[in-house]
Amino acid sequence: MTTAARPRLAFALMDAPFESARTTTAFRLLDAAARRGCDIQVFAYEGAVLLPFARQQAHPNAVHGRSLEEENHPLPKDLVAALIAEAAQHGGSLDWVNCGLCVDERGAAETIAGVRRGSPGDFWQMVKDAHNTLVIPTHG
């Protein structure tokens, strides 16, 4: 399949890590798109720019008496990295763009590899170029 022939999907995410089941569902959707060899474009807005934040740290759980290894704390940055790798493994790609102003507000500039800074204009371009787009909203 050529690059031009690969399906391209765009997703907008807004939820911050560790707060909502929507993030888990969003990652499951990205996984499904990656397994289908799609070119995936993600625009992370508001709290979602912290999903690939490089300084996330796993921790032990003193309340439950579990060590770091026993706690085996999943980190969103690792899941984003795994999704990027999975997309490439299936012949597609995952381009993750963090909203720059949202990054500055949150001091979230340190990201894992494969994440770039952009603006809502990038999301407009993603939508324009994609076969289809899904916006995953936050709910108050």
Binding site: P7, L9, A21, R22, T25, R28, L29, A32, A33, R36, C38, H131, N132, L134, V135, I136, P137, H139
Partner: protein, 106 residues
């Protein structure tokens, strides 16, 4: 007329009926409409759950699905599903996006 997939992630009877009203109206106008219940939205898929909007949508011709993973997380077996609701893989969202459906997460 486009096809529509609505995603509902909140449980129970919605405080804001916009999504179910829109889905029902589109189906009555002849569109192919599917509602997928995910996360706590899957709680409404239980037989006996207070979710009259699902019966109205089914009567309007909307296909109602529930995410298998969300059902398993909540211990809802297929035998406990409301009549007319089918379990489905979340992958259906990506498949329908690729098929050009309008997918709306409310």
């Amino acid at each position: 007329m486009p096809n529509y997939l609505f995603i509902e992630s909140r449980g129970g009877e919605p405080r804001d009926p916009f999504c179910s009203a829109l889905a029902g109206a589109l189906a009555r106008d002849g569109a192919s409409v599917t509602l997928l219940l995910v996360q706590n939205g899957a709680l409404a898929a239980r037989r006996g759950a207070q979710a009259p909007q699902l019966d109205k949508l089914a009567a309007a011709g909307v296909a109602v699905l529930a995410d298998e993973f969300a059902l398993r997380e909540r211990g809802i077996t297929h035998e406990r599903l409301r009549a007319g609701i089918e379990p489905a893989s979340l992958d259906i969202v990506v498949d329908r996006l690729l098929d050009g459906w309008q997918v709306i997460w409310h």
